[in-house]
């Protein structure tokens, strides 16, 4: 047993006798988990579907549409940001492209609304290929830079190319159902958005459980390592970026059909992108429903700030502060952080020691290993800690 000689850091379940691999206890627990999950999903779906009947007035219904739109967009965002850990601040621009694409295909090419929506999403997906190529070919920072630049350049182009886009005069999107009264219009689009959200969540879930998803998560954990295990990281990143762009464009296009008016300033806004990031981070990027919860929280939070501090810029201050706090203290998300806090207060059946050991290990690697491991030349000083340990053990 390799672990036998390292009693201080071994997890609680070291002894081979106590943990048969697929024991009856584990199986039973898994079944119970599965039931809880299914029940939760059904309840969630029921709540979402029942909302329009419960909404007291069209305004609440329209607010529901807005929140669902946010949920669709931030779920789409998390295809990239959640799976691979590449953070895009420019997804607002992809949604804007979807919106304008849909609108232009309806008004200029005369396509039926929902055909236009699908074609626009495909076009945006196609455009995402060269963008992704430039952004993902090199690691890290350049992706964020490109994502921000994307918003800024599209704003310029859509403002300036007035003959096509209407420029700052805006673009009016014809209603797909011109005969519907406004509350009915909201209701129909509420269900459309709910359907799109379900589709996005389904895609998320399928990727999450697939080999592709495992590869993406490996990229998030350690891209070099994933590459060294044979994962074609660039291709994986590009594909998932394109999928994300397509869903984002669908969300943006559907929004355009619902909202009816497009203006470059609002479609290509850097703040939209940052709200999406905030939502996803708040809810937790590793969870299927994280972005959805984040959308609820941020959507309601924005309303609150508007009501409380309506005539100031304090909503910006709050957004900035919240984002900074999340990044500094809860990079895995606020709800997961609360969840694990609750978990820790329960009677401990997972040993506390395990967590502590993990933290120790994390610190050790972060302090010594991680930077050194990236350095090409044999690192000396930074690995001194590990060396000391190894000499000690050899002695």
């Amino acid at each position: 047993m390799p672990s036998a000689s390292e009693p201080t850091t071994a997890p609680a379940t070291t002894s081979p006798a106590t943990a048969p691999p697929t024991g009856a206890g584990t199986t039973r627990r898994r079944t119970a988990d599965r039931v809880v999950q299914v029940v939760a999903v059904v309840l969630l779906a029921a709540a979402v579907l029942a909302f329009p009947s419960l909404a007291p007035n069209p305004y609440i219904l329209s607010a529901g549409v807005v929140v669902l739109n946010y949920a669709v967009l931030s779920t789409s965002w998390s295809f990239v940001g959640g799976f691979t850990g590449y953070i895009s601040l420019g997804h607002g621009a992809l949604a804007g492209l979807g919106g304008y694409g849909t609108a232009l295909l309806v008004t200029k090419a005369g396509l039926p609304s929902f055909v236009a929506l699908a074609v626009a999403a495909l076009l945006v997906a196609a455009l995402a290929v060269p963008i992704g190529f430039a952004a993902l070919r090199v690691r890290g920072a350049s992706f964020v830079i490109v994502s921000i630049a994307l918003v800024l350049i599209l704003l310029l182009v859509f403002q300036s190319w007035a003959s096509l886009t209407g420029g700052s005069r805006g673009l009016v999107v014809p209603r797909p159902f011109p005969d519907l009264l406004r509350p009915e219009h909201h209701r129909v689009f509420y269900y459309l958005f709910a359907g799109l959200l379900a589709l996005a969540l389904l895609a998320w879930w399928m990727i999450d459980r697939s080999r592709f998803g495992l590869g993406l998560k490996a990229i998030r954990e350690d891209e070099d390592k994933a590459e060294a295990l044979g994962t074609p990281t660039f291709a994986y990143k590009l594909v998932v970026f394109v999928v994300s762009a397509a869903f984002t464009a669908l969300g943006g296009g559907l929004y355009a059909l619902w909202f009816g008016d497009l203006d470059p300033v609002f479609q290509f806004s850097i703040l939209t992108g940052s709200y999406l990031v905030l939502m996803a981070l708040l809810g937790g990027v590793r969870n299927l429903f994280g972005p959805l919860v984040g959308a609820l929280v941020v959507g309601i939070g924005l309303e609150y700030f508007k009501v409380e501090f309506g005539d100031t810029q304090l909503h910006l201050v709050a957004t900035g502060l919240l984002l900074a706090l999340v990044v500094l203290f809860m990079p895995d998300g606020v709800l997961p952080a609360i969840g694990s806090l609750l978990g820790r207060m329960r009677p401990a059946q997972n040993s506390i020691r395990e967590v502590t050991a993990a933290e120790l290990r994390d610190q050790r690697v972060a302090a010594a290993g991680a930077p050194a491991a990236r350095e090409p030349v044999d690192a000396v000083a930074s690995t001194a800690g590990e060396r000391a340990q190894s000499t000690e053990e050899r002695a």
Partner: protein, 249 residues
């Protein structure tokens, strides 16, 4: 340990790499033999890890050529090199910290085609194989534990399990003995010999002379970015150049 073959498995010709003003590899020409346990030793900063990184495509060499089983793989993407049959571990063991041991190993599965990509990551056949490797390395009981919650030694074994899952003909180990206790060290030594007997070629960068001398068939000694000596352990042990460069005597 009789030599099974004289065919070079992995070979480099005049490999050069500099970082700024620091020359890490200075025209390194090396041959490792198929079916053997090769070791690569040398003092700190002699370019061993850079050599590994160039060979596995993690960094692009400034000059020179890398061939594997006669094929030129210079500058190929790392995942292509892995698919050619060359797997590696890292100097400071690298696992995916927030993934379970099982997923760490499954990440090395090579999906074929779109359907292969979209198949569940936990299909029976893969699971069996992954558990098989975990069992062989003695960490099966940790299958559902996240890697970050494992001890250093367990992580080292896990990393090796992942590499083996990708079924490489040649395995490059970067300091397998680094930071592990004597019991584990023995175990790793035995494993390497066993796996070698099953037909896998090894190239090992290592400081621990006991391990090197006990497992390797063939040793290459690096100093200042190029090989200065090579041969079987018995020869290397008595080579004065090696003593001079490596042992600092």
């Amino acid at each position: 340990m009789s030599e099974r073959s004289e065919v070079p498995s992995l070979a480099t010709d005049g490999l050069t790499k500099a970082f700024g003003g620091v020359v890490a590899l200075d025209g390194a020409t090396v041959e490792f033999r198929h079916g053997q346990v090769n070791a690569l030793i040398g003092p700190n900063g002699s370019g061993k890890t850079t050599f590994f990184n160039c060979v596995t495509g993690m960094i692009r060499p400034d000059g020179g050529q890398v061939t594997y089983q006669g094929r030129d793989i210079t500058g190929a993407a790392p995942h292509r090199i892995v698919r050619a049959g060359l797997g590696r571990t890292f100097q400071l063991c690298r696992v995916f910290p927030r993934m379970t041991a099982l997923d760490n190993v499954l990440a090395a599965v090579r999906p074929v085609g779109l359907t292969g990509l979209l198949r569940g990551a936990h299909v029976r056949a893969d699971l069996d194989r992954a558990r098989g490797w975990l069992t062989r390395l003695g960490i099966e009981h940790l299958a559902d534990v996240e890697a970050r919650n494992m001890s250093w030694g367990q992580q080292k074994l896990l990393e090796l399990a992942g590499v083996l899952m990708s079924d490489p003909e040649t395995v490059l180990l970067d300091e397998p003995a680094g930071g592990v206790n004597p019991a584990l060290l023995d175990r790793i030594g035995t494993l390497v010999r066993e796996l070698n007997a099953e037909g896998r070629t090894f190239v090992i960068v290592e400081h621990n002379m006991d391990l090197v001398m006990s497992v390797s068939d063939h040793i290459v000694v690096f100093d200042r970015g190029r090989p200065i000596a090579e041969g079987p352990p018995s020869l290397i042990r008595s080579d004065e150049r090696v003593l001079g460069a490596y042992l600092g005597v």
